[in-house]
Point group: D3
Chain length 280, copies 6
């Protein structure tokens, strides 16, 4: 029998992760980090750590972040009122300026900084730079994505950087547009045929009619749960985007809580996971 | 004799630029675009155009922008008072947050957007991302540069992108810091042994004691003009940084006006130039 | 309003060319430079300048030159008579030797030299070297092209050189052959799926029945003009080759005059152009 | 406070390893796996796992193995007697054949196989192939290393393979030679300026005069311990080789037990370590 | 007339080989070196020389060797009996250990060494390393090939090495298996779409019913000769593998004698050849 | 004993060349092919064959050719008189035109063609193209070399081509100049630190005072032979250039006869050689 030492358990955990390391090597994982999580300073920390771990074991993470609550606070500070329609804020020119200041000037930097402090090579990029995410006007300054410059994003990833995108898009004419961050992450994952799209929310995942967490769900089952009214509210558009993703060559979508410590690593590196996975 | 056509003159101008194209091919030009210029919507346009032209004829531009006036306006809006010391705003945590929102969330985007609309592949990056510009605390949240991650910046340039940096730096601990944009541009140029450091201001260049523009000046002459009190005020630290640059392998520094139409192209592609060049 | 300076107009012309620079970046342009133009020392100069400009803004030019008149002069000097049939000189072994001496030993050098003097990285290559252009005997030493070693030509272009080919081809057995330069250029453009094939002649382009220049013409219209006898003489085989090119993936063929100053730049970088373009 | 889940501790261990991952990324670690450890089937397993973990987090492991005991057994089976001198078996032609059969035909395969089963891309190579390790005759078929083909070994490592070398070397004339495995590992580490040389034995490390494990020791201290007779027996040549390595640009040498579970990971990824490290 | 010197004939032979050099440049040749040939020390020498010549003129050789007789001798020495069934030794665990010791620990080294001594960059690799050749159990430890890791083998070849594989394969679970060397060579050639599969035996090739060597034979003719009983004994499975190879994109299979001096060069570099070639 | 077959001797010759192949792999050999040899159609053939063999076994040949006699003939045909001074023809503008027509339009093509027919990837390039060889005016149109664009020549070689240069150089202003071909070859060899400079003449090499061929000679001995009057006439400048070459990092210079069949291969691939080698 081999002798065990004080930290042998720690070492064992590393070796237990080998099959996961092997399976996901060089694969692209797109993360959507929800606005609400960004309110918990502490969540930041472990999410950043988890992403750095992934990058160090050969996975290629790309992040899209939100920031809704912070925008609301800033608009209130400025005395500007805004309303939501179909899950996205009605955005005029003045609100758009505030959206950019909060997303590109505050939220993006906070997240990039958290990753860099842990040793990750993160760079923050506005989704509208270089026409990375081109959108079409829905109304006002709200846009829906028409194309993603996947080649240029891949180049940045292959140089070893972890790109962190704000969900600002750009019209063909070059005007910045406000786009739903879930949509940005979903279209990004599709354009890169990502291995995984991981949506971090402040909920545990999809719950069944008895309010129990569903571990895994197929696209058809998800559609049924929506039609039966089990999936409701803000979760509906998230699930719809997840379904779009798995139907367009994204291998798996995960909806997990960002408020569970190391939820990302737990979802990826344990067999049980801790949220809901959606597969085709 | 060859026949001339309506636009022959235009074609001739292109061919006259050949020697300049050849001389500067693949060379790195660092631009500091001053905050004041950024107030003139029109100046933006031609500066952006000029930079796109440079990138298309094989020059590698990198931009550092300022944004002081806009920060002042925003601080006033928020009812925050701030003072300047040694050419840089005294910065506490609350002011720093405002600085980032204006620089990363507004000014950076405006400039990147202007270049992208003209066809340039610009991406905006906060100087603090990826520990690109590490600074040491001077006081409060004001920092002075200690190191530049030149290798990573070169990688981005060599992929064909035009990086546009905000003058936000980062302490070794990961805290964002406010740093003078001229200093950021100067240290960047030195770290890359740039061919040129071009400082765009709202003045025509260095003036002599008769208020006439000095076309070209050596480092020793510049030092004499400072000591004789000919160079004064805000121009002194700019000239000091220029001298530091030319003493550290930057081939030439240009101080030119951003308010003259196409001043960049005129300075680079005509023999007379339109501003002041500082050489060793 | 921005201040304008003496040369602002010049700068503006550079910026107006941006869309053209962007559109043609890294694209291959094949040029046929007609023998007659090569008689005008002055034409040389601007053609060479134009080609260097193209290469400096990222376009990949490849040149095929003619040299008929000069061959005739040399044959006369040697007291050798020769006749033309179907637009190509009847060529026996003795004439072939003279053809090579003039094309490879005189005309090629003159053109390469003109480009190099302007700063272009031109290298002159006989079309028969390395079996670049393999031809099949038509009669005597006259050959028609059977294959082009496009891969090797691309390699030379991608190293940054501007290849200048003489229209000498080679039989499968290694015997040098005389081939129509228009045909060489056309087959080269087809083999590389060139963006443009530009034929420089001493005429302005294709004229309509009222002797007015046709700016743009489709392949079917061109065929109609030939059958109606509007296009006549030496222009017929040129147009037929142009039609072959556009039917085989060359995007556009231009027939322009080499005797207009900077005709190449005017045709490529202005919307009106100065010759005739043939499109599918 | 973030919610903790069942496996949160596991995830935390991964994130605690980040600083080590960052420090050792792309660094070369040379391992000597002692013959005695190779007798413990179980030790194999965790050593192989540990090496696969290292390779997956970006470290470049290269292995040299021993196999003395197994050779002795095989020689006994064949009825051949052999003696040791200066820590290496006296080797004639007949014994050499047996040495190769055991090392290349049995021990090498066992270790390569263990790594491959865990997911590592190991390939077994005899140290004499391709003149990788050229030795000079000491006596009989015993050789001491004169040169290492470091370039070719680097190529194999950079392709992503984990080379596992048997300690067979080759004379300049191409004759296979028996060489001490510690020496092979030491010279390999020196030739590659390895980050670490890790010697796995069946002892815990270097013990002080009170038989307590010495955690860290400088080269001068080690020399003193040898001269004072504290370090004795088979540990002396190992320590001498370790000293040679640290004096020749190998950053650190570790002498650790292969009989402690996951000793490699514990030594590398914990601050205390579990063996002795020798530094300059 | 050119003067001839003493060695002019030698030079002429080199130049006569040009067409063969040109035809086979960068092509992959898979060699099976039969166990029986490996018994003739002398045959080794010229086979090794021939393979080094091929590698130096740009051909990419890969070798699979046998070693049956030597295994038999070793088993006898150990007092172990073994039987053959369908051309492969019935193999239990004890026999497998002996097989590996002989193939990986003796035969492989002998062949690698012979090539290296002549200047070739040979490295010996067990077919089971890195799961290069995965097999499925037939019975006991006898396996038949299911997959070949062609990409990794190509990488090794493209780095300039000559891989020499022992015919040991590996089960999906990582257990080493005994596989017919002809089969290993055949599957390797197929997986790489090799230009040639060259089987070196101790016979001259395929003989017709009058015992005369057949120079060239199509697949259908070969099948006829088997059914007519002309091809018999151990040659039948060899021919069947050859037929499988040519039906699966291997251009040509050669069955030649390793006992004719320089048989490889003679077969490849002369028009007549010296063995039998099998084509589709 | 191995059986020998009809062509075994041929195969043996190939294997005897292995050590030479190994020694010269990837090395640059610069050849000067003298004008006089170019008069012998037959010499062409074997020289071309020899060069193709070298290129196929991994050597990188570059050729500089002469052509003096042919120029004289052509000038006579044109009724132009010319004189020699210091081993180079006095050259005015009219003569220069003739020189170019003969060298670039006739001799270059003949040699390129001979190599291509044998399968070599030769391309003929005038030494003046791309400012490859820049010279300074001596008098009239005679120039002496000032710089060689070695980087660009290396690029062409590394793409796999065999460049064949005519000895035309170019003044800094772009005027073609007549330069001694031995000098061109010598400067080329120096600029590339070539392994060998091989000068093919119509003499057997350097003869001693008894008219016997000197096989090998040091630089100091050569200088002595010149001062003693043993080396005379046209051989003096050749030897002086050879001395310059070996003093400037060219490993060896060979002066050999092009009129001995396969003299290149004999000199390189046999120990005795057939001409004179000059070493430092």
């Amino acid at each position: 029998m081999l002798r065990k030492e004080k930290f042998s358990d720690k070492a064992e955990i590393l070796t237990e992760a080998i099959p996961y390391f092997l399976r996901f090597r060089d694969k692209i994982f797109v993360f959507k980090i929800g606005g609400k999580i960004l309110d918990y300073e502490e969540a930041f920390e472990t999410v950043a750590e988890d992403i750095v771990v992934l990058s160090l074991v050969g996975i290629k993470p790309i992040i899209v972040h939100g920031g809704g609550k912070e925008i609301t606070r800033f608009l209130e500070l400025l005395g500007i009122k805004s309303e939501f329609k179909d899950g996205i804020r009605e955005t005029d020119d003045r609100i758009m300026e505030a959206v950019e200041m909060v997303l590109d000037g505050k939220m993006n930097g906070r997240f990039v900084s958290a990753i860099c402090k842990k040793g990750g090579k993160a760079i923050g990029i506005s989704g509208r730079d270089n026409f990375f995410f081109v959108s079409e006007r829905v109304r006002g300054r709200v846009g829906t994505i028409k194309s993603v410059k996947a080649d240029d994003i891949l180049k940045i990833v292959q140089m070893g950087f972890i790109p962190v995108f704000s969900p600002i898009t750009v019209s063909r004419e070059g005007l910045s547009m406000n786009t739903n961050a879930d949509e940005v992450a979903c279209e990004l994952a599709i354009s890169l045929s990502a291995e995984k799209l991981i949506i971090l929310t402040d909920e545990d995942g999809i719950l069944d009619k008895d309010n129990k967490l569903i571990k895994s769900i197929s696209d058809s089952e998800a559609e049924r749960l929506i039609s039966e009214g089990v999936i409701t509210g803000g979760m509906i558009p998230k699930v719809r985007l997840a379904l779009k993703a798995v139907k367009n060559d994204v291998k798996k979508v995960h909806i997990i809580s960002g408020l569970i410590e190391h939820s990302i690593l737990l979802e990826i590196f344990t067999d049980e996971g801790i949220g809901t996975e959606i597969v085709r």
